[in-house]
């Protein structure tokens, strides 16, 4: 191949593991020039993705998403609150993303991870601007009571493409969400009807008998790609992210509209062709993820 520096000559005589540790970039480039990645994936293929709903029994909606070994657990808790005066007939959503020390050797106990608030901001921006959830559906009594949905996402294993996995788990948790039944008591206050005495308290009329599920329109899905020279690597692992630093995250909704094109710096410039390639890869991935979500949801209904 005629590599310019000494590592090229060494590659033939050195053990593979030693070469990988000493010259990580060369190691990857040798793979990329053969259109393959060290984990045997082609460049544009994402890792195996699985989704499980209802992982947290105490939450009103929850999901566990795995992309390769990146694992995210999302859970939604609903609480009744008084809506703000500017939007009296809308509920609200609070999203928090946590990176506990178990998820990665980079995160130290006691010191919050730098990436966590950024991803949590990205998630709330994406979910609000995609218009997936109609906040009016979270209203109970206009001006008096509305739902506050607390979505907490825990990263259990951080092995690259954190945002993709977090968004998938968030979307799945919202589609699994079962809104609790509430009723208006004599004082005009909202109170929860627990599942057990559902039959006994039939004289109290539930406020939200019909509205137990949210209708999700134009669900957003995302794909993170690494740009390195002319190569585009879909769904990077943590190792790939640390060696090749230019990441692009594209979020498309189910009708192929662009929700976000996120490239925070990085040494490689994204030219128009790279932008279009990333969008094309994301289009494919959105179809895959939509199928996975649909299959998981239909699997739930059978049970």
């Amino acid at each position: 191949m005629g590599l310019p520096d000494a590592s090229g000559d060494l590659s033939s005589e050195m053990e593979v593991d030693a070469f990988r540790r000493l010259f990580p970039l060369r190691y990857f480039e040798r793979h990329l020039s053969e259109s393959i990645r060290p984990d045997a994936r082609p460049l544009g293929r994402a890792r195996d993705t699985t989704l499980a709903l209802g992982a947290v029994a105490s939450a009103h909606g929850s999901a566990l998403a795995k992309i390769g070994s990146t694992t995210m657990l999302a859970a939604i808790k609903m609480e009744v609150m008084t809506p703000s005066t500017e939007s009296p007939d809308e509920g609200s959503i609070a999203i928090d993303f946590h990176m506990p020390p178990i998820c990665s050797p980079i995160v130290r106990p006691g010191r919050p991870a730098e990436a966590a608030p950024v991803i949590s901001k990205q998630l709330s921006d994406t979910i609000s601007s995609s218009g997936m959830i109609n906040l009016k559906e979270l209203s109970l009594v206009s001006g008096k009571a509305a739902w506050m949905a607390y979505l907490d996402i825990y990263c259990l294993d951080a092995d690259g493409a954190l945002f993709d996995a977090a968004l998938l788990s968030a979307v799945a948790a919202f589609s699994h969400l079962q809104i609790p039944i509430v009723s208006l008591n004599d004082d005009g206050k909202i109170e929860l009807i627990s599942e057990e005495d559902d039959g006994a308290k039939l004289e109290v009329e539930p406020v939200n008998k019909e509205k137990r599920k949210l209708t999700l329109s134009s669900i957003p899905f995302s794909l993170t790609c690494i740009l390195h020279k002319n190569y585009i690597l879909a769904d990077p692992t943590a190792e790939e992210e640390s060696i090749m630093e230019t990441a692009v995250t594209v979020v498309l909704d189910s009708s192929s509209r662009l929700v976000s094109f996120y490239k925070p710096g990085g040494p490689v410039l994204a030219h128009t062709s790279a932008v279009q390639d990333c969008v094309a890869l994301t289009r494919q991935r959105v179809k895959e993820l939509q199928n996975i979500l649909d299959e998981t949801l239909s699997g739930m209904e059978i049970d």
Binding site: P117, V118, K121, R257, L258, V259, S260, P267, T272, Q276
Partner: protein, 243 residues
């Protein structure tokens, strides 16, 4: 067909820009940058010895501290810090001063839309003032997508809130140094058309995003010329002060 803006600007007209360097005496480099009523002050300290934990000691480390106009730093500011850090990392020559940290402090003076864009331009001017070697400049621009599908540039805060979506885009400026033929072009596109940073809000079609890119590029060329002129004109006064 294209509606007039509240302040009477045409869609692709920027607000009045002003850039002043060397505004702080204790900092190694400083700059203030304003676009209309948005104003940001940037200070550079460094390179100082040592890097922080989890940073590669074989490279120079860049640290960004964002100070909002009032109140505590929140998620939004953390995100700005991260975007700014990654953007500046891509224009600095990090291998030149390994195992050092350069701190960039951004103080928001007033926010009237396109805040991040203003901060990136200010930070870039402050790095030049500090004499830190850069590969090229970063030129940031904010494109807004209005209801009718047309693009307006450099929005005010009110316009930012009203619009369907907006994109913060950062491009490299054109370099005037002599390069081997062809190296400044990538796949038929000039280098300054590549995106360093892109952050979007709101839903748009892919075509609309590409349209934003095109308009952003056109405006960034003008902006980078202006930046270059304003930085050059300040050089003689600097050297006279040194004497």
């Amino acid at each position: 067909m294209e509606s007039e803006r509240d302040d009477g600007r045409s869609p692709s007209q920027l607000r009045p820009l002003s850039c002043a360097r060397n505004v702080l005496h204790r900092a190694h480099g400083s700059a203030s940058w304003s676009q209309g009523d948005t104003k940001v002050l940037a200070a550079v300290y460094g390179p100082k010895a040592g890097t922080k934990k989890n940073e590669n000691p074989e490279k120079a480390c860049i640290e960004v501290i964002w100070k909002p106009k009032t109140g505590q730093i929140g998620k939004q500011e953390k995100e700005f810090e991260m975007i700014l850090k990654r953007t500046l990392q891509s224009i600095c020559i990090l291998t030149l001063n390994p195992n050092t940290t350069t701190s960039i402090i951004i103080q928001v003076v007033n926010d009237d839309g396109a805040l991040l864009v203003c901060a990136i331009n200010a930070a870039c001017a402050a790095l030049i003032d500090a004499g830190i070697p850069l590969k090229h400049l970063a030129v940031a621009i904010c494109c807004c997508l209005a209801e009718g599908g047309y693009v307006i540039l450099d929005p005010t805060k009110l316009e930012e809130q009203k619009m369907r979506g907006f994109a913060y885009l950062v491009f490299p400026n054109s370099i005037v140094s002599v390069l081997p033929k062809g190296s400044s072009h990538v796949e038929g596109e000039p280098m300054e058309h590549g995106i360093i940073t892109s952050v979007t809000h709101g839903v748009m079609s892919v075509e609309e995003y590409l349209k934003c890119l095109e308009r952003g590029r056109a405006a960034s060329t003008k902006l980078s010329d202006l930046l270059r002129r304003s930085l050059q004109s300040q050089l003689p006064s600097d050297s006279s002060k040194a004497v």
